[in-house]
């Protein structure tokens, strides 16, 4: 159990991903964001609601990090990617695949894993 203070809606969002109920925040004009958001940075709308996160994303770009910060020291080398889920894109760790085999456009599932170094939660993508 963590004793550090939680980061409000960010941790709620991770809980939801963990439970298979991932969501994103959408404004009336259909712009998608990740929480917490009080206003849409694109159009200024303050009428935001939750929408279910599409159940798969596509890798938009990726990197294999060999020189890590101390918080990821034992994780290195690891792959960090941005995956496009349609209305939103999300940054996460790609696992369950050899780093050499990660490619642009790969379809991935999203889940919550732990950092090997600190045990803290992290967004994880797994190629299908």
């Amino acid at each position: 159990m963590t004793e550090t203070p939680l980061n409000g809606e960010y941790d709620d969002w991770l809980d939801a991903i963990e439970d298979g109920d991932g969501y994103y925040v959408e404004c009336e004009a259909g712009h998608g964001w990740l929480p917490p958001r009080s206003v849409c940075p694109d159009c200024g709308s303050r009428t935001l609601h939750d929408e279910p996160l599409p159940d798969s994303g596509e890798i938009a770009t990726h990197t294999t990090i060999t020189v890590a910060t101390p918080q990821f020291e034992d994780d290195a080398p690891y792959v960090t990617a941005i995956a496009d889920f349609g209305p939103v894109s999300i940054t996460g760790l790609v696992r369950g695949v050899d780093p050499e085999d990660v490619s642009m456009g790969d379809v991935v599932d999203i889940e919550v894993g732990e950092r090997e170094t600190t045990g803290e939660r992290a967004v994880v993508f797994r190629p299908r």
Binding site: T61, H62, T63
Partner: protein, 388 residues
């Protein structure tokens, strides 16, 4: 025109000075700038100072007054923080203050102490310029962030790591005569290609070093420079600043830097110039791909064309449009909070003809300085022009 004048500038040697405090570094640069300017320190009415990670590197916040004291001026002092664009933001505030008539003489500068905490802690400190919740917790580092942009760029426009190696080779060569530079070592494309990977596709030679250093400049109104018979031929004729979503994931495009487009557009309009008028540029090449993105945003190359500029020689000191004659952040070094003012000093010295690489552009009259923060969520662009 009442464009602010650069009356003097000073830059420390950029490099590893782990034992030197921030105040000591800034004193060296600031006093050199004051001495060069011929301005009476009692005339200085404000200090705008850039610093990014002072709390983390030397447990020192509230650095404005500390730095004013360090250079012996009794004036209001404010620290500005915009990640790696902190000093660029400080220049912009200084320009606005002088133009508004609120002061006749200001000092602008910045300093960063980084090597005293070691590479791992410095990497960690730099990472706080990204989105902590959505990027850092997903393992993103700064080399990693630019690697994400580089791969997206290759995917959209083509180009390769070898093209980026040419950027590194060029900037290393430019720095060979720069006594302020952290790295004065010629490298080959093969050296860059074979260097250890940091964040694929970027390797060691795609990344700027971790650097201690400071830079400062004394800026005055045109009237003050004339009344006091200062030798200040270079004016800051345009200023611009642009912003973007902090996190890469929230941007519609991963291979472009619209914050820099906006800053360039504003600065050029302010100066009454076009991109075609630019003779020389210092751009924020914290990573080789960043130079490519910068020269495209500045309108010097079309999107997708910047990747070929160094390979084809256009941006070398022998080319039509030299970029980073100082060696850039890549070879000169990148003491984060000082970089924007070091760029300003370089362009001023090149336009005056006193920089060791000024012979690359003997007829240059217009230069630009592009200073970017984070993954270019903050950018300042300044246009400098020299009196004919």
């Amino acid at each position: 025109m009442t464009d602010p004048r650069i009356a003097g500038a000073g830059v420390t040697q950029f490099g590893k000075h782990p034992e030197r405090t921030g105040r000591d570094l800034f004193a060296e640069a600031g006093l050199e700038a004051l001495d060069q300017s011929g301005v009476d320190p009692e005339d200085v009415e404000a200090l705008y100072y850039g610093n990014f990670m002072g709390e983390l590197a030397e447990h020192q916040g509230h650095q404005g007054p500390l730095m004013a004291e360090a250079i012996g001026i009794d004036a209001p002092a404010t620290r500005l923080e915009a990640a790696c664009a902190s000093a660029g933001a400080a220049v912009r505030e200084a320009v606005k203050t002088l133009r508004n008539g609120e002061a006749e003489v200001v000092v602008v500068g910045g300093a960063e102490r980084m090597t005293n905490i070691g590479t791992a802690a410095a990497t960690d400190a730099l990472a706080i310029a990204a989105d902590d919740l959505y990027e850092i917790r997903a393992g993103m580092t700064f080399p990693g962030a630019y690697a994400l942009m580089a791969r997206a760029y290759f995917d959209e426009f083509g180009g390769s790591h070898e093209d980026l190696a040419h950027v590194a080779v060029k900037n290393h060569e430019h720095a060979l005569v720069n006594e302020h530079a952290q790295i004065q070592k010629e490298i080959t494309v093969e050296d860059a290609m074979e260097a250890p990977t940091i964040a694929a596709p970027l390797g060691l030679y795609d990344s700027c070093p971790i650097t201690d250093g400071a830079a400062a400049a004394v800026l005055t109104t045109e009237a003050y420079a004339e009344d006091n018979d200062l030798d200040a031929p270079v004016a800051i004729s345009g200023t611009g600043q642009g912003g973007d979503n902090l996190a890469l994931q929230d941007r519609p495009h991963l291979a472009r830097t619209p914050a820099a487009d906006k800053a360039a557009h504003e600065a050029y309009a302010d100066a009454g110039i076009e991109a075609d008028d630019v003779d020389v540029a210092e751009v924020h090449d914290c990573f080789t791909i960043a130079e490519v993105l910068a020269i495209e945003s500045l309108g010097l190359f079309e999107p997708g064309e910047g990747i070929h500029a160094a390979t084809e020689g256009t941006t070398t000191r022998h080319g039509e449009l030299p970029v980073n004659l100082s060696g850039g952040l890549k070879a000169k070094g990148h003491p984060v909070g000082a970089t924007g003012v070091a760029q300003l000093a370089t362009i001023a010295w090149v336009l005056e003809g006193t920089h060791p690489r000024a012979d690359a552009v003997p007829d240059a009259s217009v230069g630009v300085a592009h200073n970017a923060g984070g993954t270019v969520a903050s950018t300042t662009v300044h246009v400098l022009e020299v009196e004919e």
